[in-house]
């Protein structure tokens, strides 16, 4: 009556482990909300591959979500005319980069003046 096949045993073990981990996580996140923030990587800025604005090539710039060929070209032109970016805010002086766009873009960029 209680004979289980190998596959059935695997499924039940899997379900048991899932429930065990699930309840533990539920408990942990309730008593310690900071633990939730540690796990929460995908929607945070921790896993953004930031590119250096002073080193980025045209190809790298156009791969960014908010930058098209025209803005990428303007960034390169700006770098050629004015030297390296000292601060990330400087990018706002480039035509086509509004405050709203800057806010969306900033998580993909970094500036290393020494580069």
């Amino acid at each position: 009556m209680f004979n289980l096949t190998r596959q059935e045993k695997i499924v039940l073990i899997f379900l048991g482990v899932t429930f065990l981990i699930g309840f533990c996580l539920h408990y942990t996140f309730k008593i310690n909300p900071r633990a939730y923030q540690v796990v929460h990587l995908i929607d945070s800025e921790k896993v953004y591959s930031k590119i250096d604005l002073n080193k980025a090539s045209y190809a790298e710039l156009v791969r960014l979500p908010e930058i098209g060929p025209a803005i990428a070209q303007r960034i390169l032109d700006y770098r050629q005319e004015n030297g390296l970016f000292a601060d990330l805010n400087e990018i706002k002086t480039i035509k086509g980069i509004s405050q709203a766009k800057y806010q969306r873009l900033v998580k993909f960029l970094k500036v290393n003046p020494a580069s």
Binding site: E8, L25, H26, H40, I42, V47, K55, A59, V62
Partner: protein
């Protein structure tokens, strides 16, 4: 050797499709060739030649299938759209896809596919067909199956990504979508009717949306997006930065539904059904049906359909108690997909999916047997599992790395290592995802347990991928990885597939090496002597973080490349200028500057007096970039080339004319002008000038037809007057030809009279009067000649009638006076 007929058939069929992609061949000739080949098969059934005939037949069938798939019906919306560019158009049709709400610059955009039924032309509503993509720039409450009327602007898809080989226009074209309709945020959209949906598709969309909502309820936005891609095949929600991480580590394949998903799904379904004690055959059939439903739910993408067909073939083998061959079932899956849509052969997803599975099936056993010969013991379980995973991961990576380099311009050696960690995570996530959906749909309250486990493992997996993406040398952006490079890579790959690795092992031993070392030294010496002029194949440039192929290198941006090419043009180094413009088009085909480069190729050729080639280059601007701002300039340039041809420039020499035939470049050029801008200012004069050219060639009837087109097609044009005059002139020229026809002469006279009457002030009217008198004179002369002929034949009465008609019809003319003299002579003759 295993019997694999389907493999040969699908290869021939695929080659046929590729043949059609690169070489256009008339459909009827191909159909005829197909018939002949099939008849050849019938007559050679008993000998081995029939196999060749069969493969050739499938090659032809592939070409035919591709051609018939791409042929648009005459009333397709694409045929008419070009006349309405930049103008709003009104359409009626039915929504045939799920309606998606996407984020667009902080606002919501409603996107769906529309089957067009009616189109509002200048002459009212007309029946039209074809599929288009619609973007409504607001949150619009629409659903699959709605019949709607809407107004917006039609345009051809743009290509957004200028760096990779991904071609958005081609991607939509493969789905038979050639146009996008853009409806403004305050644009007109009205639902006319509802419930015109296919019930099966409607149900699958409803289930899919419910499952999506379930993910959205328990997971964050990004997490839900990734899980939707894993389980439902919907990649829209994957955060871009996460997608980029997976691309950089060569693990992006797990963000799509693959054979692994289908395998796990089949396993779970089989298991659940066994709990209900359903007999084995019943379980197999039910599993097949559920897998088909799942493939439908996942939107029928190539990897899903491929995996589903393979699973079904496997289950059928199970039902019939026959062993199935993986390569045959893979070939069957490919054949079904290619017959349904031959263009899917050109799809990166299709190529990557089939190639990786093919390589895994063919290469893995060979690699494994090769590894087993080494001293370490691979039979122990944890080591065996990791070794097998590493082999599969490496083989899959090696098989697709050429295509990835070509399509995505990236080389990811870190992929082998990353996959070892990511694939097990994905397997667990899939099982958790299916459990989450089952529990979520039935026992909603405990779904959070699965959701929390998914959250932790998913974030862990992304964290691992992020770490791999940070590894120096983990991935390189390649530039200029061309088609020929890809082909060379796969030639080497095929060489390895077809040469058993065991033989290779035998070859690599000390004794063999010792025997061959002199030969190898000579080869290396010769190679080094002749290699001093060779380019480095790729050069690493730290500034750009890219490997660059110097032979094909272009400037970093299309703008710089255009400026570089222009320098050569201005220095009048035309061949180099053309070369650099071509490079721009080749490397940045989707950039705005590409159209400009194509235009400048035309100008460069025109400057070199290569007029017909210049026309061909200009025409490419229209053909490749039909919505380019340069279109008007191109039409003007083409018209001017046509005029230069008409004036006698660019003529082929007698010998060339004899060898390559025809001097009909003029007609081709003017016809192109008319086709490119049928309502433009150059259409009527072009039509007129085709007539002039034919008139000059002495093809009077053809010239008359062309002039008539000016009058009929452009009745309000200033060229109508000239066309009418030319028609009269053509008729007069016909009448003065060797085969005189009085009716034509009379028609010409009438036409000149009408012209002079309608346009009395025109400069040509005076000439018309002159022609009238000349024609009348000609007519009189002709009658006189007839009379004279009868006189010579001594038929005096008949001669008298004709002489009298000349005197009566053309009084006062030279021929009337001559006729009077002749009558007098006749009188005297008859008296005698």
């Amino acid at each position: 050797m295993t019997h694999r007929p389907l493999l040969g058939i699908v290869l021939s069929f695929g080659m046929g499709i590729l043949f059609d992609h690169f070489i256009s061949f008339p459909f009827l000739s191909l159909a005829l060739a197909g018939c002949i080949l099939l008849i050849g098969c019938l007559f050679s059934l008993r000998n081995s030649l029939s196999t060749v005939f069969i493969f050739l037949s499938f090659f032809t069938l592939g070409t035919l299938c591709s051609q018939s798939y791409q042929k648009l019906p005459q009333n397709h919306i694409y045929e008419i759209a070009k006349y309405y560019k930049r103008n709003p158009v009104s359409l009626k049709g039915t929504i045939i896809s799920d309606v998606q709400k996407r984020d667009f610059r902080g606002r919501i955009k409603t996107t769906f596919e529309l089957q067009v039924e009616r189109f509002k032309t200048r002459w009212g509503w007309r029946e039209r067909q074809g599929k288009i993509l619609v973007n409504v720039f607001r949150d619009e409450n629409l659903s699959y199956g709605d019949s709607i009327a809407l107004e917006g602007k039609l345009y051809e898809p743009f290509n957004f990504d200028s760096e990779t080989k991904f071609d958005y226009r081609e991607y939509l074209n493969r789905r038979k979508i050639k146009l996008i309709l853009s409806v403004k945020k305050d644009g007109y959209v009205e639902v006319l009717d509802q419930n015109r949906a296919n019930p099966l598709k409607y149900a699958s969309i409803q289930i899919k949306n419910r499952l999506k909502n379930l993910f959205a309820l328990h997971l964050s936005r990004g997490e839900a997006g990734i899980m939707q891609a894993f389980i439902l095949g919907d990649r829209e929600g994957i955060p871009k930065h996460v997608n980029e991480l997976f691309v950089k580590t060569g693990t992006a394949h797990i963000l799509a539904i693959s054979g692994q998903n289908i395998g796990i799904m089949a396993f779970l379904v089989f298991l659940i059904l066994s709990i209900f004690r359903i007999p084995q055959k019943g379980r197999s059939i039910l599993t097949m049906l559920i897998l088909i439903g799942y493939a439908f739910l996942a939107g029928g993408q190539a990897p899903v359909v491929r995996a589903t067909i393979m699973a079904i073939v496997f289950l059928c083998g199970f039902l019939l108690e026959r062993e199935t061959d993986l390569l045959n079932s893979l070939a069957l899956a490919a054949l079904i997909l290619l017959v349904a849509n031959p263009l899917s052969l050109l799809d990166a997803g299709f190529q990557l999916s089939f190639l990786s599975v093919f390589a895994i099936v063919v290469l893995c056993p060979k690699v494994w047997s090769f590894l087993e010969k080494w001293p370490w013991d691979l039979s122990r379980q944890p080591l065996r599992f990791f070794a097998q995973s590493a082999v599969i991961s490496s083989v899959a990576w090696v098989s697709v790395v050429g295509l990835i380099a070509y399509y995505f311009q990236i080389f990811t050696p870190v992929s082998i290592l990353a996959n070892l960690f990511v694939v097990p995570c994905m397997t667990v996530l899939l099982a958790l995802g299916v459990g989450f959906l089952l529990f979520g749909l039935i026992f909603t309250k405990i779904a959070f347990v699965f959701a929390l486990c998914i959250k932790v493992i998913l974030n862990l997996m992304v964290g691992i991928v992020y770490l791999f993406a940070q590894l120096p040398g983990g991935s390189f952006y390649l530039k200029d990885f061309s088609v020929d490079m890809t082909l060379i890579y796969y030639l080497i790959f095929c060489f390895l597939v077809f040469i058993p690795l065991a033989r290779l092992t035998k070859f690599i031993n000390y004794a063999t090496f010792n025997r061959m070392k002199i030969k190898i030294s000579i080869f290396l010496a010769v190679f080094l002597i002749f290699s001093h002029n060779a380019f480095a194949f790729w050069v690493w440039t730290p500034e750009t973080n890219q490997w660059v192929n110097p032979k094909y290198a272009v400037k970093e941006t299309p703008k710089l490349q255009l400026a570089y090419a222009m320098e050569f043009y201005q220095a009048k180094d035309y061949p180099k200028a053309v070369n650099e413009f071509e490079k721009l088009i080749q490397h940045y085909p989707k950039a705005r500057e590409a159209a400009e480069a194509q235009y400048y190729i035309g100008i460069t050729l025109e400057d070199q007096e290569r007029l017909f080639q210049a026309y061909q280059a200009y025409q490419k601007v229209i053909d490749k970039y039909p919505f380019s701002e340069l279109s008007a300039k191109v039409v003007e340039k083409e018209y001017k080339i046509g005029e230069r041809f008409l004036e006698g420039e660019g003529k082929k020499t007698g010998l060339m004319n004899a060898v390559i035939g025809g001097g009909y470049d003029v007609i081709a050029v003017f016809r192109a002008v008319i086709k490119n801008a049928p309502y433009g200012s150059y259409a009527a004069p072009s039509q007129y000038k085709i007539g002039l050219y034919l008139q000059e060639k002495g093809l009077y009837q053809e010239a008359r037809d062309e002039f008539e087109k000016v009058i009929n097609d452009y009745p309000d044009s200033e060229w109508v007057k000239a066309a009418k005059y030319q028609i009269a002139l053509v008729d007069s020229q016909r009448s003065t030809g060797a085969q005189y026809d009085q009716k034509i002469t009379q028609a010409a006279v009438d036409e000149f009279k009408e012209f002079a009457q309608n346009y009395p002030d025109a400069e040509l009217s005076e000439k018309a009067h002159q022609y009238i008198s000349e024609l009348r004179d000609k007519d009189a002369e002709n009658n006189f000649i007839v009379a004279h002929f009868y006189e010579k034949q001594k038929q005096y009465d008949a001669a008298r009638v004709y002489y009298n008609s000349v005197i009566e019809d053309f009084p006062g003319s030279f021929w009337a006076k001559k006729s009077e003299n002749q009558i007098k002579e006749l009188d005297s003759k008859q008296k005698k």
